[in-house]
């Protein structure tokens, strides 16, 4: 009898300890989650899709880089693009001219089958405008919509892209650290912000990140210097959002 009571006490004690553990874990987890969000970017969960998903297409190109970088690009980029665009292609190149025919064919198909085409050029200094230049002129002038280019010094291509038909183009002016802007901008763009809003927030958050890094590693990072070459520059219209037709 005594043994049974003792056994019951142990079970009850264990149950209490488990309940307390789960409660404390929840608080700890939420604190850590808030800390991570504060350090990186605030979650904004949205289950509803943007309108006209089936009518828009996107082509993203990742140029040759270390496997780790290419892996990271795919992990971050592909879920967003495949969820928010009716047709999505992401090409990971092994060399500069790698998959040129397939990339041009994908752009052609996108222009023929959808109302709009966005491009994400996730590459070092590049000349992809030459590949786009060989596409059907009428279609690209009508349907090429937003082009984002991470390449160093590729802000200078702004006018060229607008002449090719892009309604808006975003590039960086110097030897840039573009990934922070790309992450902040893309998350807002696919969730329905206008180009202008996503662009402004992307720039502000990238600057905040550089400032924080400078505070942590003052001898390694000069935030203002990095900012001069890495801030994004917007060309063309900034009022459209992902759900709009060009």
């Amino acid at each position: 009898m005594r043994q049974e009571e003792k056994g019951r006490d142990v079970i009850q004690g264990t149950g209490k300890a488990l309940a307390l553990a789960l409660g404390v874990w929840t608080l700890l987890f939420l604190s850590c989650f808030a800390l991570l969000s504060h350090m990186t970017d605030v979650p904004s969960i949205s289950l509803s899709g943007r309108p006209n998903r089936e009518r828009r297409a996107v082509v993203a190109i990742r140029d040759p880089e270390k496997p780790f970088m290419q892996w990271g690009t795919r992990l971050f980029t592909w879920p967003y693009l495949s969820r928010h665009y009716g047709r999505a292609w992401l090409f990971t190149q092994a060399s500069k001219e790698d998959q040129k025919e397939a990339i041009v064919a994908a752009m052609n198909e996108a222009l023929r089958s959808c109302d709009s085409l966005d491009l994400f050029l996730l590459a070092h200094s590049n000349s992809f405008h030459e590949w786009v230049g060989i596409l059907d002129e009428e279609l690209r002038r009508k349907k090429l919509r937003m082009v984002y280019n991470t390449g160093c010094y590729n802000a200078r291509q702004g006018e060229t892209w607008l002449e090719l038909g892009a309604k808006t183009y975003i590039g960086h002016p110097g030897n840039s650290v573009s990934p922070p802007f790309y992450v902040f901008y893309t998350r807002r763009w696919v969730k329905g912000s206008t180009v202008r809003d996503a662009f402004d927030e992307g720039n502000a958050l990238a600057k905040r990140l550089f400032d924080r890094l400078e505070r942590v590693m003052p001898s390694k990072i000069d935030s203002d210097k990095v900012w001069q070459t890495s801030h994004a520059i917007l060309f063309g219209a900034g009022e459209m959002s992902i759900g709009d037709r060009p």
């Binding site: 004690g13 700890l28 800390l35 990186t40 290419q70 892996w71």
Partner: protein, 116 residues
């Protein structure tokens, strides 16, 4: 409430076991992530691209679950045996890091899958 079998045996024999077990699990997951990365995008890559995201997200999800298990088990032991000598080390070396790791895996998972 008692865990059964081999896992139960391991857990009953040392209050510290969640710590080395957690380290081993996270080490294995980190190696798994590296394996996916190298076999997807190195010169002799053979993992098809369409498998890169699912494999990676499965490993990250496993990391989140294991961190959670280690964390809750560490806390449960802490509250069950409150007052014994290893309480403070357990808090600093097991509970806080694993809560941070669990949040890190979850946040990374949400961030990368586009949910956050």
């Amino acid at each position: 409430m008692r865990a059964q079998g081999l896992v139960g045996w391991i857990f009953r024999h040392s209050a510290w076991l969640p710590l080395p077990l957690g380290l081993v699990f996270h080490g294995v997951i980190a190696l798994g992530l590296r394996w996916v990365c190298m076999n997807a995008y190195s010169e002799n890559a053979w993992i098809p691209e369409k498998w890169v995201c699912p494999l990676t997200f499965a490993l990250l999800g496993l990391g989140a679950v294991l961190s959670w298990v280690m964390n809750v088990e560490g806390l449960r032991r802490l509250f069950r045996d409150w007052g014994i000598r290893w309480v403070m080390p357990l808090v600093f070396f097991l509970v806080l890091p694993s809560a941070l790791l669990a949040a890190f895996w979850c946040y990374t998972l949400m961030f990368l899958t586009g949910w956050a």
